[in-house]
């Protein structure tokens, strides 16, 4: 089954829903922390941020993203670029995450 899968962007994004920001207790994709994600020939390139610079959980979240993406069948490498511009804000959350935190659209 694994050999038949050709991983694409949606496939990797779905898997990254299992990686949470521990302080907010919500997955990093719906929080809007993943800015860009591309998959090319089994190589995942991710541009992402943290909710605040200097976040103590930063290394764990980055490692979690790496491990989760790398564990997917058909993925041979994961390249994560941590960026601070544009800065994260609650506006970047998906509607479902905003609803969870009671944030008005």
């Amino acid at each position: 089954m694994d050999a038949a899968i050709t991983p694409d962007r949606q496939y990797v994004l779905a898997a990254l829903h299992e990686v949470i920001d521990p302080e907010l207790g919500y997955n990093i994709v719906d929080l809007g922390m993943v800015y860009e994600l591309a998959v090319d020939a089994g190589v995942v390139k991710i541009s992402m941020t943290m909710t605040t610079p200097g976040c103590p959980a930063q290394d764990y979240i980055l490692a979690g993203v790496y491990e989760r993406a790398r564990s997917l069948p058909g993925i041979s490498a994961v390249d994560i670029n941590l960026v601070w511009e544009p800065a994260w804000s609650p506006q970047r959350m998906t509607p479902i995450a905003k609803a969870h935190f009671g944030i008005q659209e």
Partner: protein, 447 residues
């Protein structure tokens, strides 16, 4: 990828544990009737309990938080993880010496020498801690408001401890430094420098970062935040400097400067409380966690303590209200803010230690899954209600009533400590997450 982070303070949880033990020990001294209001303010038991509270509880708790907080606001590591441990050892050993010294003043001249020796050890511990967090702060300039306030607080901390060491010398070896003898009349300024310049300014700075971060509110505090910092700094500096100077010089302008300092402090506290209200009102996260809901009680006690201090000064009877104001600041404002924020920080650090490395590999709980908010909330209600009632008994001069309220405070504190312990042990985490857990820790990750 790195699995352990140098953004984590290795010793913070140990500092918190020591701080909480000291807090309970101080409450035990009060319950045993060894302190004010059953005894004099200058009684050995009162001095021991006060220093257990401000050094053993508040100082260790605040330093433990700063060792974790400063790398967050500076995006730089501490100068040294090991220095945090040496600071803890110096402060704990020094505090033990000071307590022996307080009881030795009336009992044994030899034992009394433990007071300056202990104060020296505390000073060394404080200098180590200040260097540890001060260097990354200075290197990260220009600093945002929280960092500037913490840096200002550190200056007041060193001044406070040096004043304390001078007191200890004046107490025990007056012949060594006869010119210091008059300083014993300035213990109120020593308290103001510590509780105000150090603890309050630092707590304000930390809250200006943590509250918006936890509640998803705007972080930039603008002109009001700068006013709090500038007026607070000037106010505490003026009041303390003019107060100490009056030990040697009696001059009208010093009294005016001291009064001006009090006015500036009052305005700074008022603006701060207004600004905190603004943070709560503009938060994006409507459903906030219990540590932020309960912190409202701590802010209320800051306002109450300030109002009581002003009314005491205004009526020309500072001696009547000052001890109760100090009680409200130590237990209600600083102690309350500390206990409420530990309810978030301890589970967060525990989560990183127990589950952080499993993120992306296995099912992990949320930080929120490590606590039961309803239980924590009940203890916070009891804690703050008992302090309010206790302050009323203290104002009315009822020592038994005050002590019965401290019994309730101790019960609430013990309840919260149990909840912290349960969070650290993963007591509430569901079995489906258990396989991701690694053994509990006090002092990991490694440097």
């Amino acid at each position: 990828m790195a699995t352990l982070s140098n953004r984590l303070s290795r010793w913070t949880l140990l500092l918190f544990a020591c701080a909480l033990v000291n807090f309970l020990a101080a409450q035990g001294l009060i319950l045993a009737g060894m302190t004010w209001p059953a005894r004099a303010l200058s009684a050995p038991g009162t001095l021991a309990a006060v220093h257990l509270l401000v050094i053993g509880w508040l100082l260790l708790m605040m330093l433990g938080a700063l060792f974790q907080f400063v790398p967050v606001i500076t995006a730089r590591p501490l100068t040294s993880q090991r220095m945090a441990l040496w600071a803890l050892i110096g402060i704990e050993v020094g505090l033990g010496g000071m307590i022996c010294g307080f009881f030795g003043i009336t009992a044994s001249p030899v034992l009394a020498m433990a007071l300056p020796a202990g104060a020296t050890a505390v000073l060394l511990g404080v200098l180590a801690a200040s260097w540890n967090v001060g260097v990354p702060l200075v290197r990260a300039r220009p600093l945002a408001l929280p960092g500037r306030m913490v840096l200002t607080g550190l200056v007041f901390l060193v001044i406070t401890v040096m004043l304390g060491l001078s007191f200890a010398l004046a107490f025990t070896v007056p012949a060594l430094a006869p010119y210091l003898a008059g300083l014993l009349n300035a213990f109120g300024d020593h308290a103001l420098a510590g509780l105000g310049g150090w603890f309050t300014l630092t707590a304000m700075g930390v809250s200006y970062k943590l509250l918006p971060m936890f509640m998803l509110a705007p972080e930039d505090r603008g002109i009001p935040g700068d006013c709090v910092h500038i007026l607070g700094t000037l106010g505490f500096a003026l009041a303390v400097a003019a107060g100490v100077a009056q030990v040697w010089v009696s001059a009208g302008f010093l009294r005016i400067a001291q009064s001006s300092g009090y006015v500036a402090i009052t305005i700074a506290v008022a603006i701060y409380l207004w600004d905190i209200r603004r943070i709560y009102r503009t938060r994006r996260r409507t459903a906030i966690e219990v540590h932020n809901r309960a912190a409202v009680g701590a802010f209320g006690f800051l306002g109450l303590a300030a109002a009581l201090a002003i009314s005491s000064l205004g009526t020309g009877r500072p001696a009547a209200g000052a001890p109760v104001s100090v009680f409200l600041v130590v237990f209600g404002w600083l102690g309350g803010l500390g206990l409420t924020q530990l309810y978030k920080i301890i589970p967060f650090l525990t989560w990183l230690g127990r589950y952080g490395s499993a993120l992306g590999r296995a099912s992990v709980p949320r930080v929120q899954d490590l606590v039961r908010e309803r239980r924590g909330g009940q203890w916070f209600v009891l804690y703050f209600a008992a302090i309010l009632l206790g302050s009323a008994f203290a104002l009315s001069g009822s020592a038994p009533g005050f002590r019965s309220c401290i019994a309730l405070v101790a019960l609430a504190t013990a309840g919260l400590v149990t909840e912290y312990w349960r969070a650290w042990r993963g007591h509430y985490v569901q079995a489906r997450h258990a396989e991701a857990a690694i053994p509990p820790f006090l002092a990991s990750p490694r440097e």
